[in-house]
């Protein structure tokens, strides 16, 4: 326990300044509180016929953080890092093995149904809408299941329909909706009962550019106007960039970073890529603050720090070279995290304990 909190406070400590700027006004009113929350699973692995090995896996290993009312937080990490386990504990689906957890003052695992009225959950790839029925029917069920007062339901529905552009879809059976339409429909379904916090699991996965933009814009508005707290997991770095003032990175069940996205880029030293198409084949472009990483005919790839704006770079190239077309590629979120985790491991600090403590047991 001691070593966990120790290493954790170090993570927090190194980003104190940036952290304070957005949380000091609401620190007394932390809406989500985790203190040394743990989740330990017994995992059985087959090792042969009728034999298996039992291992204890710490899916979440002493995580502590606070989220203030109205914050929008990105929760990211490699697959299997413990993201969804955390979300499941926050929503009351899973009971923590240890630590203290409160959402809106409620212990989720003990008062799951009471909490359910105050939270909204969108599972990215699992729709909760009724497949064969018109979209509106799913909303009517929410109306009754959450016992939403009629006036409030109407008001919220109208608002969601307007902002998510659902008006023409309400009478369409859900099975006929596109992925993007369905995601918008799912988000609306999660908001009809005025949740104080919205958990989104991969809200933009598989969506086209326009749908992604629409979903993001809606979430921004929701947060700004209603002060809904939003916690989202994603693989899309743009989700985080456009929505979240704060990012938490989890790896092997432990919180590795908690702070603004810019800090993440600095820590991870990640780079974005500017792809330029020139009029003809030319020697590698020479500009400060970017380096050419690849040349293929008239097309060149330039890497530049992700924390810097692309605008001056583009202006400069446009001024000095015969530019035909260009595009900016965002760093892959996995790459950013991997780089960050790598650089953090290099800095000397108490070595993180084994995430898995294994013991053999025949069964």
């Amino acid at each position: 326990m001691d070593s966990h909190s120790h290493s954790h406070s170090q993570v927090d400590g190194s980003f104190d300044e940036s952290h304070d700027s957005f949380s000091n006004n609401s620190f007394n009113e932390s809406f989500i509180e985790l203190d040394g929350v743990e989740k330990v699973f017994d995992v059985r692995k087959k090792t042969g016929f009728m034999r298996s090995e039992r291992r204890e896996v710490r899916a979440v290993d002493s995580i502590s953080f606070r989220v203030a009312r109205g914050e929008m937080v990105g929760y990211i990490g490699p697959n299997g890092a413990g993201k969804s386990t955390t979300i499941k504990m926050l929503t009351g689906i899973l009971t923590p093995s240890g630590g203290r957890l409160r959402v809106a003052g409620i212990d989720p695992s003990r008062e799951r149904t009471r909490l359910a009225r105050r939270i909204g959950v969108v599972f990215g790839q699992r729709t909760t809408l009724w497949w064969d029925l018109p979209l509106i029917d799913s909303y009517k069920l929410m109306h009754r299941m959450y016992r939403i007062p009629d006036a409030r339901y109407r008001e919220n529905l109208d608002r969601c329909v307007e902002l998510l552009e659902l008006a023409d879809l309400l009478d369409v059976p859900v099975r006929q909706l596109s992925l993007g339409q369905r995601m918008r429909g799912d988000i609306a379904a999660a908001l009809l009962h005025d949740p104080e916090v919205l958990y989104l699991d991969e809200p933009t996965i598989g969506l086209d550019v326009i749908s992604k933009a629409r979903v993001r814009e809606f979430l921004r508005d929701l947060n700004a106007e209603r002060g809904t707290t939003v916690l989202l997991t994603t693989h899309d770095l743009q989700d985080i960039e456009q929505l979240c003032s704060r990012v938490m990175v989890i790896d092997h069940g432990r919180l590795m970073y908690d702070g603004p996205l810019t800090g993440l880029h600095e820590v991870g030293d990640s780079e974005r890529t500017l792809v330029v198409d020139l009029e003809r084949e030319l020697p590698p472009v020479e500009v400060p603050s970017a380096r050419v990483v690849r040349v293929e005919g008239p097309r060149q790839w330039l890497a530049f720090p992700a924390s810097e704006s692309a605008a001056p770079l583009v202006a400069r190239i446009a001024a000095e070279y015969p530019l035909v077309d260009l595009s900016v590629r965002e760093p892959d979120i996995e790459a950013v995290i991997a780089k960050m985790l790598h650089s953090m491991r290099d800095t000397p600090k108490p070595p993180p304990e084994q995430a898995e403590r294994s013991g053999r047991a025949a069964s």
């Binding site: 009312r69 499941k88 689906i93 809106a104």
Partner: protein, 301 residues
């Protein structure tokens, strides 16, 4: 069981712009939870009925199919009686009486909670989680899942066979008690089978691939009860009387109605135990369900 807290304690205002104290109740009392469960069940079942009606032709066909499929068992008995006059000393109407009661009781349970044998699948594909984040009892949500009116086929078929039996039974001396016992049997029997379904689903929290084990007790049990207990080995009868009390669904009360000797030298009053046995089974199944759900919530998927 942790539901003892008196219900409807209003919680105070909690900051934020969107307080909803007008409709956010505190912890619910036991009866409110039951009421809430029934309400949830009705809502979800209604949604499934409307979903089915999106494919009306398919609904008609599967209902007829269900009716025919469940009738095959009785057809087998009729075929047997094309070769014999008595089976284990029982006439066709007597066996039809047992059969009808078993089919109606099982059919009712199948209609009400029959989809619970899909629980293992829901655990595997993670869709159970979507039910856990809703403010409604999970048991009611799972029980109403894929509610299918086509399952009325089995009940209809059972009612027809029972009707035949009642018309064809000529040496039964009906008393008020016997007449009353018939609906009591059907209801308690249905409740016992419901408990089997719920208990089986609870088992699937632990063994999620083993949904077929449940079939042995549900479908297997219903088949067993179609025949007179005298056909089976004493140990088997003992097992379904004292350990896994399916004998109370129809065997014991029906033998009382038919005026037939009981198996295992049981006293006559056991014929009137089905409501008590049903209540006990439901309580046990409820406990098993709680334990199963708790284990799921501590182990995850």
């Amino acid at each position: 069981m942790g539901v003892g807290v008196a219900g409807a304690v209003k919680t105070g205002a909690r900051g934020g712009r969107w307080t909803r104290d007008d409709w956010d109740d505190g912890p619910l009392g036991r009866w409110e939870r039951v009421f809430d469960g029934v309400r949830t069940y009705r809502m979800i079942a209604a949604m499934w009925i409307r979903s089915t009606m999106a494919y009306r032709a398919s609904f008609v066909m599967t209902t007829l199919g269900n009716f025919a499929a469940t009738g095959l068992d009785f057809l087998a008995i009729v075929l047997m009686f094309s070769q014999i006059d008595r089976l284990g000393g029982y006439s066709l109407p007597e066996i039809a009486f047992l059969y009808g009661l078993s089919a109606i009781a099982f059919g009712t349970a199948d209609l009400v909670v029959g989809s619970m044998d899909r629980l293992g699948r829901r655990v595997r594909d993670g869709t159970l989680d979507t039910l856990l984040v809703r403010p409604a009892p999970v048991l009611a949500q799972v029980a109403a899942d894929r509610f299918a009116l086509r399952r009325l086929g089995r009940i209809t078929q059972g009612l027809m066979v029972l009707g035949y039996a009642l018309l064809a039974l000529d040496d039964v001396h009906w008393t008020v008690l016997k007449v009353l016992l018939v609906p009591v049997m059907v209801l308690s029997g249905g409740a016992i089978f419901c408990a089997v379904f719920v208990g089986g689903a609870a088992f699937q929290f632990v063994a999620r691939d083993a949904s077929e084990v449940q079939n042995a007790f549900t479908y297997g049990g219903a088949t067993l009860l179609q025949y007179p207990p005298g056909l089976f080995a004493q140990d088997l009868v003992r097992g379904v009387t004292f350990v896994f009390p399916l004998a109370f669904v129809n065997w014991l009360p029906a033998l009382y109605v038919l005026g037939r000797p009981y198996p295992l030298d049981l006293p006559e009053w056991v014929a009137f135990l089905p409501p008590l046995v049903a209540a006990g089974c439901c309580a046990l199944a409820g406990l098993a369900w709680r334990a199963g759900l708790r284990s799921y919530r501590s182990t995850g998927s």
